[in-house]
């Protein structure tokens, strides 16, 4: 639980999470509804909303957690169509790709949203955005994007064909 709260704090917000609804399974955290919590037998492989996993000394979020953070006043940037597509393809974001942003400071964590305000992932701010005049400078480094679902599928099919 501590890891989740610490991760969320990096977006300068807090989200209410009911401790009794969160289950840790090995290094992974899941948020379970009451029905799941009371009726799903133990020993599951995956359940409810995947919140993220502890990796080494850090915490790596799932998309459900990012969506929960996105509902708050967390630091966000909104991307245009092209930048959104490049971001989903795993690329970093140039300053020119930012359509709308809060006052971003170097090293901040930031949620990446599309024009419909749907969360595409998150990244780390690489420059002081207001001060930077070079539009071709990388403004946000991609840490996680929804294209990861495809990359996982590809990895799975590659592993399968190797076997």
């Amino acid at each position: 639980m501590k890891e989740i709260h610490e991760f969320v704090k990096q977006f300068n917000v807090e989200i209410p999470l009911e401790e009794k609804q969160i289950v840790r399974k090995r290094n992974r955290y899941y948020l379970l509804s009451d029905k799941l919590n009371h009726n799903a037998p133990k020993g599951f492989f995956y359940a409810g909303d995947y919140l993220g996993a502890v990796k080494g000394t850090g915490f790596f979020p799932g998309f459900a957690l990012l969506r929960m953070i996105a509902k708050t006043e967390a630091t966000k940037v909104i991307l245009g169509k092209k930048a959104a597509w490049l971001f989903i393809c795993g690329r970093d974001i140039f300053k020119r790709g930012l359509l709308k942003q809060s006052d971003l400071k170097k090293d901040d964590y930031v949620l990446i949203m599309n024009k419909n305000e749907e969360c595409l992932g998150f990244g780390r701010v690489m420059i002081n955005v207001r001060e930077e005049i070079d539009m071709d400078k990388i403004a946000v480094k991609n840490i996680l994007d929804v294209g990861d679902f495809l990359r996982r599928e590809k990895k799975l099919s590659t592993n399968k064909s190797k076997k």
Partner: protein
């Protein structure tokens, strides 16, 4: 469950994708034209729609009402029908999704996370051991492992033997028997295969009504009546209530709805 149908179709059309409503499905569309893979759009990655063959979308729609129910998806991976049921349930109730093979768990959970399914617990477990879960289910989906059909597998004729088909039919009956044990009295089982072999379909349904406390329910969906005269055998007349979907606009498919007899 993550966006309205109109919103998602209009977003896809704006991307230049031509859609055509599948006439026999409430929420299914055929992709008539697209310059790129519909499995790689922003909308897909955001879980706003899923991709599933048209006939394969029928089974989940046959349950009387799924909302707030306790549901078993006995052979769940890669999770297309699990996601579809979660959508029909509006993420309420509970789905227990099983799959036997460890490597098949990853595509399943990838699909659940992408589609924002929150009402499901997935287990790496053999459907033939479902009673170990100690749960009684209102609805059970049995999309059982089968021999497939030549429409979706070009090497089908060189790969399959009659012995395979008999082996699959035996395994399917074992799964069906276990599923019956974990279904509440009055509960519903939907049995489906993408095989066209009568041994895996009508013969198994005939066996089920003769050996298990199950009766076949009438269903209204695309397809032709189940066969009752096959290979010189006359099967129980209720088997005709099942639907056999011959490959044409869809792949080959078989579906049958069963009800567990007895009072709760």
């Amino acid at each position: 469950m993550n966006i309205s149908e109109n919103m998602v179709t209009s977003r896809l059309e704006k991307r230049g994708i031509t859609l055509e409503k599948v006439p026999f499905l409430d929420m299914g569309y055929w992709i008539k034209k697209s310059r790129f893979s519909v499995g790689a759009t922003e909308e897909y990655l955001l879980g706003l729609y899923s991709i599933q063959e048209a006939a394969a979308q029928i089974p989940a729609t046959l349950f009387t009402n799924l909302e707030n129910k306790t549901v078993l998806d006995a052979c769940a991976s890669p999770g297309g029908k699990t996601v579809q049921m979660a959508n029909l349930m509006n993420n309420s109730g509970l789905i227990v999704a099983l799959d036997l093979k460890p490597r098949k768990m990853f595509p399943l959970v990838n699909q659940l996370e992408r589609s924002r399914v929150a009402n499901t617990a997935a287990y790496n477990m053999d459907a033939k051991e479902a009673s170990k879960l100690n749960i009684k289910f209102d609805c059970v989906l049995l999309d059982v492992p089968c021999s497939g059909n030549p429409i979706t597998d070009r090497e089908w004729f060189s790969k399959r033997t009659l012995a395979d088909i008999h082996k699959n039919a035996r395994r399917q009956r074992q799964i069906l028997a276990e599923a019956t044990k974990v279904t509440k009295n009055g509960g519903e089982i939907v049995y489906a295969t993408c095989s066209l072999e009568p041994e895996e379909n009508e013969f198994n349904m005939d066996w089920a009504v003769k050996n298990l406390p199950l009766k076949i329910e009438k269903i209204k969906c695309y397809g032709e009546k189940g066969l009752t005269k096959v290979f010189d055998s006359i099967l129980d007349s209720s088997v005709k209530k099942a639907k056999r979907i011959w490959p044409n606009e869809t792949q080959g498919f078989f579906v049958c709805k069963l009800k567990k007899m007895g009072n709760n």
